[in-house]
Symmetry: none
Subunit: 250 residues, 2 copies
């Protein structure tokens, strides 16, 4: 009881999206979570899911995704969702298969619950995940208008990069995303996988590592003062790349 109230206060306004084709199940899960104090939206399939995510006034803070959906599989949806968002995902499945769970977790789900599930545990897992994700400032970077580094300035809204001399340098989409990935995590070695994950363009899982190298190469050509010895994006042999200069928001 006390827990109920405390938790409710802990996750105020949290908005959940349930993606589940079976009406009965959908209603059950929705009721369960509403009773736990969450705001709940539902979707029947991938199309509706993306509709809610892209068009809703308040995008969901967490997605509960059924694996068995008509048409596209929940795994595919999970992958596609991850490609465009870091929203926490709990997968739900009738199959208790372990391989299934591992695959789910590896393609980006945060938790995996098998049906039939115990209501209280399910809610507890939703809360645990929300607690972990909502305490983070989240897209602190996204709130900033522009990011400054080494005299350069990246306008996030306009997607416009200005050189120290004040010249506007055009960046392609992938270049912009890659640079942003670096700016979000400066002074930290980022593996090619991490870069791909953060620079979520439409990169599917099967894109090769070398694509990152090429993009880094192209980006360097635009922002490195001295082409022969990179001072901004350094290579860490065997591990990945690191963005050296400090980044400030403004």
């Amino acid at each position: 009881m006390i827990q109920e109230r405390d938790q409710r206060l802990l996750d105020p306004e949290a908005h959940l999206l349930i993606v589940e084709d079976d009406g009965e199940m959908r209603a059950l899960v929705a009721r369960l979570l509403r009773e736990a104090g969450f705001r709940v939206s539902t979707a029947r399939d991938g199309r509706e899911m993306f509709e809610v995510i892209n068009d809703a006034i308040t995008p969901p803070d967490l997605v509960v995704l059924d694996v068995m959906l008509p048409g596209v599989s929940g795994f595919d949806l999970c992958r596609r969702l991850r490609a465009q968002s870091q929203v926490p995902i709990i997968m739900l499945t009738a199959r208790a298969d372990e391989t299934d769970r591992v695959v789910g977790l590896e393609i980006g789900a945060d938790d995996y619950v098998a049906k039939p599930f115990a209501p209280r545990e399910f809610v507890a897992r939703v809360r645990a995940l929300l607690r972990r994700t909502m305490m983070d400032p989240g897209d602190s970077v996204a709130k900033a208008r522009r990011l400054i580094f080494a005299g350069w300035s990246l306008d996030l809204k306009a997607r416009e990069l200005t050189s120290p001399a004040g010249v506007i340098v055009d960046l392609s989409g992938a270049e912009h995303d890659l640079l942003l990935a670096f700016l979000e995590h400066p002074q930290r070695v980022l593996s090619r996988e991490q870069l791909m994950e953060v620079a979520k363009r439409r990169m599917s899982v099967d894109t090769s590592d070398r694509a990152v190298d090429v993009q880094v190469s192209r980006l360097r050509r635009k922002i490195e003062p001295d082409e022969t010895s990179p001072a901004i994006i350094k290579t860490v042999r065997g591990s990945g790349y690191v963005f050296v200069p400090p980044v400030t928001r403004e």
Copy 2:
């Protein structure tokens, strides 16, 4: 196979702490996670756990906590740990009791795994949680972590070694790993085998002891002030090497 390698790169440097009283189980979990590419420390009980958390040179990025411990219960430890840290916690229990799981999750654990668990799923859950926590800035995990010794400073995230004079010294992968092994166990004689164990990023099992000597030699050349008489890494004839200066975290 590919997943293994990719995932390994995804969480470079991650340091896990296993709290488990049963020796066999502890060894099993530790081996499992080491094989998955993590750095692993272990603790037998709450006292040891807090010792590692507060005194270890590199604090853990994630804690695996057994519920059944002698003395204080794992739940209490979890609560006490949460009171002072936001480190991600995975609870481990022999009891598959649902109430148990709910309690665990509600008092602050991030995930809850019942024994016996499927190894791959367990590792997948560890990774899923690390993925969620290590990327987001703001957490203790994301803070720049550097180790100081004899005026030198090693930035773990950027993999950057700075000399007392402020010059950045490049380290190869093996050199970095070797140095880290020393920094984590200063003032302790480390055998060549132990050093190889830690710096085994690419070292096969059959590499000769002398390889360590050579790496030590190369490392010395970079950090020893006086080449003729090593003051930082001393040789202990017949046993191995010792890292002499005190190491502090900052």
